[in-house]
Structure formats: structure tokens, C-alpha cells
Symmetry: C2
Subunit: 205 residues, 2 copies
Amino acid sequence: MQRHLKENYHHGDLRNALIEAAIVLLAQHGVDGLSLREVAKAAGVSHAAPYRHFRNKTELLESIAALGYNRLEEACQLAAKKFPDDPERQFFEAGMGYLTLVMDQPEIAYLMFSGILSGQKRSEALSSAGTKAVQSLAQIIENGKQLGIYADQNTEDLTLTALACVHGISMMILGGLIKRPATKQQLRALGKRVSSMLLAGLLRR
Amino acid sequence: MQRHLKENYHHGDLRNALIEAAIVLLAQHGVDGLSLREVAKAAGVSHAAPYRHFRNKTELLESIAALGYNRLEEACQLAAKKFPDDPERQFFEAGMGYLTLVMDQPEIAYLMFSGILSGQKRSEALSSAGTKAVQSLAQIIENGKQLGIYADQNTEDLTLTALACVHGISMMILGGLIKRPATKQQLRALGKRVSSMLLAGLLRR
DNA sequence: GACTGATTGTTAACGGTGTCAACATTTGGA
DNA sequence: TCCAAATGTTGACACCGTTAACAATCAGTC
């Protein structure tokens, strides 16, 4: 009995266990349906234990969102590395990284993009993770700019418009404004349609 | 005293009073900080009274979001009426209607666009209000299509891309990914930059 | 190896919340 | 005038986030 207690009183890696449990519950019940007490229970720990690892519920959610931003950043960098001479393809694949995240883990994407965590008090870790993800996408635009494929306009405007479009599609899927693609192929087709439209412009040329 | 009771026991127009109180509190405390009990108190009524007019808290929020969609629809229709021969201007002004809503009543815009209310159980009124708003914007694209200003592609793709861009900018402002414009002029300038980019396309031509 | 402070858990409590059932008042029509 | 429907109130319930007080364990020092 003492042995048992000795082994279990300290979890060992409770912080990560809580994050993982929260990710599972998030997928099941959504952001609104997630309670810290439930997360603690799923991790096999008392309801106040999480407060040894997170200042509050928001900080746990922020940690999860930060993981998502990291994943996004990696997707961008992978796209840049994989198609070094094809900035158009880089852009497409980076956008697909966005959309894939939305499809695979919509609740995490929701945390990242909806703005729930955008209060004044967002943690430094979250801010920097988000900034780095955005910068990775900006870098992809910059690559294309240097290779001369983009219009001779402000790079900032290019990036802003591209980002807005990707972000908008993501949010429209998350918000149910367009129907969620059923397969990866459908998602890819959706991405192709929008990206070619965006690159070519709406106006007749 | 009886007279007093007689006059006040029944509020008269509690439903709208609750909606108005909720809108005020929403602007002050945000969506997360809004409690139904607080709304009831602000309307001078007991904490359970709202349940005579709304099935639950979500239904109250849905009513507010529906008002926002109506406002958006009106902005689109006004733009179409105001510039009947200039579909490009129609598009720009409709988009500005979006962005203006985001600036003026960010919390309502958040309700409409964030996806909080996008569960399976969204009310019929909300769905139809949202659909009508989207259709108004789609109609503006259709106008331009018929006047021949847009590329010869699927109208659906045109609409989707345009909507995604507007939606994306809105959400990026709401989520704090880009800094909130301080003035209407700055907002308009932002809209101009993005819309011209979107219309002309990212690629060099 | 025993002592000691820091870490990491538990338990119990607080105020707040959404929601519901039971009751009270008012209204409007038969 | 009376009665049912509509509308508001009160009180309760379970749940939640958070904190304080306490307990167990761990890590390092003598």
C-alpha cells in the first residue's frame, strides 16, 4: 500500500499528461464543453492538481494552441524545403498545412484561430509561437517575391492577402459556413480552387 | 405599492430588453465574461426570467448574432443599390460593411464568425439569417459576373475566394493577428489594399 | 542514513454559473 | 367574474474555476 502510494502520488509527467488528456477531451466535447476538472480526472489526478502546472485553465489551452502553431510552422518550413524552386507550390502546400490542421484537429485549430485566447494577457510562449508560424508563411511569400513570380507590390500586402485567404477558408470550415470536406482529396481540391483563384485574381485579365 | 407591482411585474418587452442589455454587457465583458444572470440583473429582472423568452443562454446569443447578419445583409444590398453600374465598387463597399461591423461591434462579429454558435443545434432563425447575408454577397459577385468584369471561372469559386478573403481579414482583426485599425480611414485603406490585391491576383501578370 | 526545504499532490471550501421545478402575479378572453 | 395562459420569482441542484491549508514525496546536504 505504501509502495503503491509511493509510486503514484507523484505522477512524474503530469504536465504533458494533462495536455494530452485535454486534447482528447477537446476533440470529444469541444472547447466550451471542456472543464479543467474533467481533464484532471482523465489524467487520474485530483481536480486541483493542474494548478501546480498551469496558472489557470487558459494557460493549459494556450499550451495546446502553441503546439498547434509549432506544427504549422513545421509544415511551412517543410514545404519550403521540399520545393525550393517552386514558390507557387510552396505557397499551396503551406496553405494545405493550414487546412489539414483544421481538418485533423478542428478544436485545436479553433483554439488557435478563433480568438478565444487573444485577450491582453496571452502568454509570451503563445505569442511567439504564433508569430513564428506567421513568419514562416511570410517567408514563403518572400521566396516567391525574390524569384519574381509575384506582382510588384508591397510584400506586406501580398502576405496579408494570402494569409487572409487561407485564414478565411479555415474559419469558414470551422464555423460551418462551408461544408467540411469529407476526404483529403476533397480538401486538396478545395485548396486548389481557391489558391488558383487567389493567385490569378478575380478580375478578367 | 400594488400599483407599483402591477406596473412592473410584467416587463412588457423583456425579450428585447434582454437582448439590448446583453449587447451592452457583451461589449464590456466579452462573450466569455457574459453571464445570463448578469443580463437579467441589468434588465431589472430575476435570474430565471430570461427562460420565459429564450430556451437557454445560447438562444439569446443566437438572437444577437442574427441581428448582426441582418445588418450585414442590409449593407450588401445598400452597396448594390448605391452603385448599380460599378460591381467592383459594390464588392468593395460590401466588404467594408463586413469590416465596419467588426470594428464597431467586435463582440457581435465574434459571435457571428468565430463559430461558437456553429454546433449542430443552431437555430433556424440564425441559419437563415446567415445564409441570406452570404447570399447577398454572392449576389454582388453575380452582378459583376453578368457585367463581365470577373474571370471566366466557376462563380462558386469566385464567391468562395472573395468571401474567404473578407472573412479572413475580419477574423484576423478579431483574433488580434493584425493590429486593429484606429480610424475608419485606416480601415478603409486596409480594405483597399486587400481588395485590389485580391481582384488583381498575387501573381505577376 | 537522517534532516530539511522545495515540489507536487489532496481535500475542503468559496462564489459564481446555467438550468429547472414549484410557486406567484398579471393579463386577456369566455 | 372566472379561469387558463403568459410571465416573473424563489429556491434548489450540479457543476465549474480557483484558492488555502494540509500531506506526501523528492532531492540535496550534513
